[in-house]
Amino acid sequence: MNRFDQRQKYCIDTFAKLDDEYDQFDYLISISLTSEIKLDKTLRNEKNLIKNCKSNLWIIIKKEMDGTINIRVDSDSLILKGLLLVIKNIYQGLNKEEIKKSSFKLMEYVKVGDLLSNKRKDSIEEIISKINEISKS
């Protein structure tokens, strides 16, 4: 199993153990609260903002010198930040070949996906597309 599939499976298995909707959100909140990752005010700007998402979501995706992906995320919403951190943990440090073979399916397995609005689901899809795009470039 490659790194992407291993990491995604770990996340899916973790969510599967949290049967209750509240428990899944609570898990995402815990991730946010315990994370030291926070974008500086200067980086929480229009350029890094995911458009069409009513909750502020900022993401910076870069391709490093060694061809691997580096992702930085932040949000005003603890739940969405938690979700972004999960996505980051799946993709962080992967190279172009690994991302090319990847298929992001996490949202199908998490109850929280049902409660996200269509616009927010679109925002998550937009982030995955961006990751794919930047890794190919």
Binding site: D20, E21, Y22, F25, D26, I29, L33, K54, S55, D76, S77, L78, I79, L80, L115
Partner: protein
């Protein structure tokens, strides 16, 4: 009629504390039964066919017009225009003024308006190049009559104002506004979307020129609403929406057409037949219960909730009538609509967590962006009660809210 008001609202028979009544109220079973029956036996188009069933359908429909007239205290049935809701009513009405507005005219609206009573007038102003004046509310989201009156002058053609803010729940004082508007020969349009479920409306007492509300905020079905207009004004008003069912003689090409008498000239297309029947049944239901008793009970629930909310640390309750420009001046009446923010916590997170605990509230900008900009908030959580909410529900909500706030602040929870 049994004592349990909740039993008349089937949608409440589920594991949910429903506190989003400002968005849509629960539909009464009387409306559901009437619509079901209508669709199964009487749903034939009206004002068109001559066959018996069409005539029967038309009579039922026009009976509702008379019911609405009586309910809101209008003088004539032809002053009642059926619409698809408030947004439809105001868009239709604003388009009636398209050919009348001059560049020297102005339209007065306010910062507390819902998007549906803001955008149509903004659009009319942009298209006709007349001035749009916007009366400001204060930093607590409260609008004084003086602020509106100051905007009115002899060139004011229209004053469009909400009877109740969907953010603060304040019964907006408008008597002096209407008086001043009429002294300047301006028309006053009252958006009664929030008012309709929290008070009995009387258009004659109010002396407004137009008033509108939606059935679904008044315990009726979605898809219908009413626009009231004084007969003498409707008779001289140009048509807005055009189409079938409202034209008398349709001439070829660009020749002028003639239109039906009121109210029909404002009801283009097939009206929302079953939904109007549902509205009629809703009025019957409201008339059959002691509505004043339930409104009094609702007020008590509101007071109970407000007393609990103001005790929560860092909770900013919008439209607190003890603050701001109203302090000490006027005893403002309020419906049980409470919008608030909590420092450091997004309403989105709170709303989602509440939903996992089977509590439904509204979050976001509440279609009230001008008001939110004024009070420097970007998103709020709104709790809006109705006649069927209970003290027990309020207790569960506050307890859950406090628990979730602790969680979101990273405090340990049992």
């Amino acid at each position: 009629m049994n004592n349990n008001i909740r039993s008349y609202f089937p949608i409440l028979n589920q594991d949910l504390i429903y506190f989003d009544n400002s968005a849509t109220a629960a539909t009464c079973s009387a409306a559901l039964k009437a619509m079901d029956h209508y669709y199964k036996t009487d749903c034939f188009n009206i004002h068109r066919g001559v066959y018996r069933q069409a005539q029967k359908s038309e009579k039922e429909f026009e009976d509702v017009r008379e019911k609405v007239r009586k309910y809101i205290g209008a003088t004539y049935a032809e002053e009642i225009i059926f619409t698809f809701g408030t947004t439809d009513a105001i868009n239709n009405l604003s388009s009636c003024f398209l050919l009348d507005m001059k560049e020297s005219d102005n339209i007065v609206i306010t910062e507390i308006e819902h998007s549906s009573n803001y955008l149509p007038w903004k659009k009319l102003s942009m298209v006709t190049k007349c001035e749009l004046r916007i009366a400001q509310c204060d930093e607590n989201g409260l609008l004084s009559e003086e602020a509106v009156i100051q905007c009115i002058d002899k060139n004011t053609k229209i004053v469009a104002i909400s009877g109740m803010s969907n953010v603060t729940g304040v019964f907006q004082p408008i008597n002096e506004v209407i008086k001043m508007a009429h002294e300047n020969k301006s028309y006053v349009i009252v958006d009664a979307s929030q008012l309709c479920s929290h008070t009995k409306i009387n258009v004659k007492e109010m002396d407004c020129d137009f008033l509108c509300f939606s059935s679904h905020k008044f315990f009726g079905p979605t898809g219908s609403g009413i626009l009231y207009g004084k007969r003498e004004i409707l008779n001289k008003l140009n048509v807005g929406k055009v189409g079938g069912g409202m034209v008398d003689i349709l001439n070829n090409g660009m020749e002028k057409d003639s239109f039906d008498a009121i109210p029909y000239k404002f009801e283009a297309g097939t009206p929302p037949l079953a939904e109007v029947i549902g509205l009629g049944a809703t009025i019957d239901f409201i008339n059959s219960i002691d509505f004043d008793f339930y409104l009094k009970k609702e007020k008590e629930m509101g007071q109970l909730l407000e007393n609990k909310l103001v005790q929560i640390p860092k909770l900013n309750l919008i439209g607190n009538t003890s603050l701001g420009s109203y302090k000490g001046k006027v005893n403002l009446k309020k419906a049980p609509i409470f919008s608030f923010s909590i420092e450091g916590i997004t309403s989105y997170d709170l709303g989602l967590l509440l939903s996992t605990k089977k509590i439904a509230v509204r979050t976001g900008n509440l279609c009230a962006q001008p008001l939110l900009k004024r009070i420097k908030e970007s998103d709020l959580l709104r709790v809006s009660l109705s006649i069927y909410n209970t003290e027990e529900e309020i207790g569960v909500f506050v307890e859950t809210l406090n628990y979730l706030l602790s969680r979101l602040k990273g405090e340990k929870c049992e």
